[in-house]
């Protein structure tokens, strides 16, 4: 058992930390449009500094980083409060998938531009009647001469309003009784007349996701990933790439807990710090145990991945645990602010980020596979319980 980093890993950390000190933006714009160009600039700065897609091979602009270096990368980004990646879908999902199964032409066309943030990507997965039951999608792609015409509706499309490209699932044929067959993945150009994007307002007031209406939107054969009718396998391999992103969530949880400790020491009610209240202190000790447990679980799964070369099914536990715990922790953080906790924005008793993060956390147990879907996966793949009845 060993929790230390090698000298080489520590040098990597130092290099990144120094780079961040010199390049991290100091002020974040509030206004929506300015914020988006701020994030795009940040993505370009990262790519130019060689700090985007670090695990990728050098020929695609990466630095061949090891898994441990990727962990350090997440730790340092969280530590520095770096801006979020505006091209998360592109870098963590589309890029690695194209490198694995894309054509040479696709790699050439897309990879560099998504790394620099020149092209922002979104995912065209969910539909009004295909949420957790993703293979029930109805959006259709029909061959019309040498082009494909796409019709249907996508929903919960994060970054859809700013995206240039969409990693789209569409039905290309009907196989009775086998819904996951006959699906194809298209790389759709969002900047065309057949694509209409309508923003959806989230419960926290933000507009991060969208409805996407497709009316005779056009794709070509060159936009297909993998084979026609075999998109489900492509989608599964993309989801495996998504897992790597969980590291950032674990370290964010750790940081939020530390912020919560500081808050309970600093915020006073009737002249007393919150942590002086035995009930609050007890709950804090409980949250400490559970957040440490989540982090240590992550390290244990990481050890398995390092030893076996690939993540085991146990790593699906991390997402469920971290998202549920984050939600509970933020709920507690608002609750202990007492009656004043209902106030936010400029009237927040401490810092409106607590209220905002709390509301935002409700999305984390839904997006990327609901907690219920995660439980099905863990139950079936890790514990070997019988599969759910599926139509």
């Amino acid at each position: 058992m060993d929790f230390s980093f090698t000298k080489k890993e520590e040098r990597f950390r130092l290099e990144l930390r120094n780079w961040l000190e010199e390049n991290l933006p100091t002020s974040w714009p509030k206004e929506e449009e300015a914020y988006i160009s701020f994030l795009k600039n940040w993505q370009r700065t990262l790519a130019e500094g060689g700090w985007a897609g670090i695990t990728w091979p050098e020929k695609y602009g990466g630095r061949n980083a090891t898994l441990m270096q990727e962990i350090i990368y997440h730790q340092e980004m969280v530590r520095a409060d770096a801006p979020p990646s505006i091209n998360y879908v592109g870098i963590h999902m589309v890029g690695p998938t194209l490198m694995q199964i894309g054509t040479e032409e696709q790699k050439e066309r897309f990879i560099k531009k998504l790394l620099t943030g020149e092209e922002i990507w979104c995912q065209g997965y969910s539909e009004p009647n295909a949420g957790s039951d993703l293979s029930a999608i109805k959006t259709s792609a029909l061959k019309d001469g040498d082009r494909w015409l796409i019709n249907g509706q996508k929903v919960w499309t994060s970054y859809g309003h700013i995206a240039d490209r969409c990693f789209l699932l569409a039905r290309t044929s009907q196989v009775p009784g086998k819904k996951h067959k006959g699906i194809t993945v298209f790389l759709l150009d969002m900047n065309q007349p057949g694509v209409e994007v309508r923003p959806i307002v989230q419960l926290d007031g933000r507009q991060e996701f969208n409805e996407v209406y497709l009316t005779d939107a056009v794709c070509s054969d060159a936009d297909i990933v993998g084979e026609v009718d075999k998109g489900w396998q492509v989608m599964i391999s993309l989801m495996l790439h998504e897992r790597a992103g969980i590291g950032a969530e674990v370290f964010t949880l750790e940081k939020q807990f530390n912020n919560l400790v500081a808050m309970t020491k600093e915020y006073k009610v009737d002249g007393k710090s919150l942590i002086e209240d035995a009930n609050i202190r007890q709950k804090m000790a409980d949250l400490y145990a559970r957040s440490r447990g989540a982090i240590l679980n992550y390290y244990r799964n990481l050890t398995n991945t390092l030893k076996n070369g690939q993540p085991g099914p146990e790593s699906s536990i991390d997402k469920l645990l971290v998202s549920e715990l984050t939600k509970e922790m933020l709920e507690f953080a608002v609750s202990i602010q007492g009656p004043h906790g209902i106030l936010w924005k400029e009237d927040a008793p401490i810092n409106s980020r607590w209220q905002e993060k709390y509301l935002y956390s409700y999305g984390t147990t839904i997006g990327g596979g609901t907690s219920e879907i995660q439980r099905n996966t863990i139950g079936e793949r890790v514990l070997g319980l019988p599969k759910d009845l599926r139509a």
Binding site: S4, E266, A285, G293, Y299, R300, R375, G379
Partner: protein, 390 residues
């Protein structure tokens, strides 16, 4: 280099212990024990001692293997899986580390080789009738008489007092307050004036009450400094609670296995009940609790061995989480089994009762949480600065 796993030797030792417990019939030993038949348990104890289980943390000089807390982990997990009776925990994870650190040469020579050989085990005599674990309420008194101590008092909730050869007794040797004036004394069970077995919900561990009337033992039986016993005991508790967490993890491991296996074969409405999400999702949540407890307990024992700064917080957070999770899991396990889970026939009840045994064992959850808080230095008297609040 990051490696959060038990090493090959530790896993290999686990396999030896598992094999030995399999041959003994796993929970059958505990079941026989609850019926008053201790012979299977005694036989098994001998085999486990031959395997080296009783020497793990004892230095080689005294016949042990000279290993650390983390090396006990796989053994404790296996014992927890089998709900094994006996005072292994108290002996190996409390008295041994204290003897190793505070014992005189004579004390070490007297006790350690016999513990390593499996011929002597220890229990802890701490709490008194109708009292808490607070050090300042201890009344059992030891008075100096020449080079002897004369002890009078009653100690209750002594785990397996009737299964062990010796006791570590905490007595008052001076007036106290804040844990002062207490001393730890090593006594033999046959020196005790009277011992009775109390009725306990968990019949896999005997709970006894001992009476000491003018029991005279040599001063040389005091371990650590006179009147400084509380500090010594607190240190021993770090080992004890780290080890307890591991034993609880073992029980949880078995519970999750029981529930999943049952859910795969038990059919209702024409299908295995594990297909229903009400059951499936509950078992998944149990699995999450198990893995979290395992991570916490492995880290706690590592932190103890390597004397990490956060060891106190690590140990007590493992202890609180594993304790509560174990009760939760044992309860869910009964529900998952339905009617048969409510019977003596299934093992479900053994795990529930054992879970309750360890709930308030040598401390309470709320106290452990305060220990976490202390370990993290959450000093709330002096906040760094005060925020302006409206």
């Amino acid at each position: 280099m990051m490696d959060f796993s038990l090493n090959e030797e530790q896993e290999m030792f686990r396999n030896y212990v598992r094999k030995c417990l399999n041959e003994a019939g796993q929970t059958m030993v505990a079941r026989e024990f609850t019926c008053g038949n201790t012979s299977e348990f005694i036989k098994l104890q001998k085999k486990l001692a031959e395997l080296g289980c009783t020497g793990i943390t004892i230095s080689e000089e005294y016949g042990g293997l000279g290993l650390g807390a983390l090396d006990l982990v796989p053994v404790l997990e296996e014992f927890g899986r089998a709900v094994l009776p006996g005072a292994y925990l108290e002996t190996m994870a409390f008295v041994v580390p204290l003897l190793e650190k505070y014992g005189t040469r004579e004390q070490k020579e007297t006790y350690l080789p016999e513990i390593a050989a499996g011929t002597r085990s220890f229990s802890i005599a701490w709490v008194e009738p109708n009292k808490s674990y607070d050090p300042d309420v201890i009344e059992c008194q030891a008075v100096t008489k020449g080079s002897s101590l004369v002890i009078n008092g009653v100690k209750t909730l002594v785990p397996d007092g009737n299964q062990v050869e010796s006791l570590l007794l905490i007595v008052r040797t001076d007036e106290g307050g804040n844990g002062d004036g207490l001393s730890l004394v090593l006594i033999d069970v046959n020196e005790v004036t009277d011992m009775k077995t109390l009725s306990s919900m968990d019949e896999t561990r005997n709970v006894t009450e001992i009476t000491l009337e003018n029991v005279e033992v040599p001063m040389a039986r005091v371990i650590g400094e006179v009147n400084q016993g509380w500090n010594v005991l607190k240190e021993g508790l770090l080992y004890l609670h780290a080890a307890t967490s591991s034993m609880l993890v073992g029980s949880m491991d078995h519970i999750v296995e029981m529930s999943s296996e049952y859910a795969k074969i038990r059919e209702q409405f024409g299908q295995p009940i594990g297909r229903f999400q009400a059951i499936k999702h509950r078992i998944v949540d149990m699995k999450l609790d198990l893995e979290t407890a395992r991570s916490l307990s492995h880290y706690a024992n590592w932190a103890l061995d390597t004397n990490q700064q956060d060891k106190e917080a690590a140990i007590y957070s493992a202890r609180t989480f594993a304790t509560e999770a174990n009760i939760r899991l044992a309860s869910h396990n009964i529900q998952n089994h339905g009617g048969i889970g409510f019977t003596m026939e299934m093992d479900c009840h053994l795990f529930l009762k054992r879970a309750r045994f360890y709930e308030n064992y040598m401390g309470s959850i709320s106290q452990f949480r305060e220990d976490v808080s202390k370990g993290l230095g959450w000093s709330y008297e002096k906040p760094r600065f005060q925020l302006t609040s409206k």
